[in-house]
Amino acid sequence: AKAMFLETINKARDNFKQMYQELFTGGEADIILEDESDPLESRIEIVSRPRGKKPLTITQLSGGERALTAISLLFALYMVKPSPFCFLDEIDAPLDDVNVGRFLKIVRTFARQTQFVIITHNKITMEAADTLYGVTMEEPGVSKVVAVRFKKEAETDDTILDLHY
């Protein structure tokens, strides 16, 4: 179990560095076991240094930088053991437009082998989806699922706005 966990950490570390480069276009990232001799109990430390900066701790990073660091790490773990589907709930909320674009670029590559379902309020993410579902509540307190767009045909932003009343 100890050897298996160490192997997971090592694979995750390599993936994390790769994902970080794609999302931050630079900088350094690392996963450090505080106590190498005791991997199963040791604290796991995350290092995140965006390009050109030298933040002392993760708490000093901005809201968006923290979100992007966490996303890099989650994708890194996913790469170790891909799940058949991945359900994301508004994790693009703190990201600026450029970072949303980078995040979606990675999602698109993974989406060839994984079903991605992304709940979002972000127009860029809506645009990038192959399929768009709306959830409405015409009758107060009663939810309905509505198909808005399948495989990028025909629909426009007006359709999405119609879901708001």
């Binding site: 997971t8 989650l74 079903q115 809506m126 192959d130 579902y133 959830v135 409405t136 509540m137 708001h164």
Partner: protein, 165 residues
């Protein structure tokens, strides 16, 4: 494996029978605040065997049953079914097509079914345990998880690494 569709009735804000079809690639779910998007995610977690009510935004499991609105009465049962294509055999089951169902009655009674055959909760969680698709894995990511994964407290982070091992 890939997910085919999710069916809900009496679950949270979905009193009427509702279907959510999964497609290949990227699916985006949109809609106004409070319309029921995160509730769909809760339904998926729940049918996969989630027992931690905190992850379902509740304190008692009974709270997932449609509680009524100003005009509608509460319902007595919540039911969610997940249809899965398993032709690639990635789930440990002889079936090429699987339907996993979970029911909860206000009395507190629960029912679990695989392909309409009653089973135990454990049979459902065992089915998904190794495929990275458990109710516990990084396959379902919400905003709170993004903070938790970077927090000083190590547990959430360690748990995710163990899931990937």
């Amino acid at each position: 494996m890939y997910l085919k569709n999710l069916e809900l009735v009496g679950f949270k804000s979905f009193p009427e029978k509702s279907q959510f079809l999964f497609n290949k690639g990227i699916t985006s779910i949109v809609g106004p605040n409070g319309c029921g998007k995160s509730n769909l995610l809760d339904a998926l977690r729940w049918v996969l065997g989630e027992q931690r009510t905190s992850l379902l935004r509740g304190t008692k499991m009974e709270e997932v049953i449609f509680a009524g609105t100003r005009t509608l009465k509460p319902l007595g049962m919540a039911e969610v079914s997940l249809n899965i294509d398993n032709k690639d055999g990635s789930l440990p089951s002889q079936y090429g097509e699987l339907t996993v169902s979970r029911r909860l009655y206000r009395s507190g009674e629960s029912e679990y079914l695989i392909n309409k055959v009653p089973c135990r909760l454990k049979d459902i969680t065992d089915l998904f345990a190794d495929s990275g698709v458990g109710a516990h894995a990084y396959a379902i990511i919400q905003q709170e998880m993004v903070d938790a994964i970077l927090s000083d407290k190590n547990e959430e982070r360690r748990f995710l690494f163990e899931e990937a091992a």
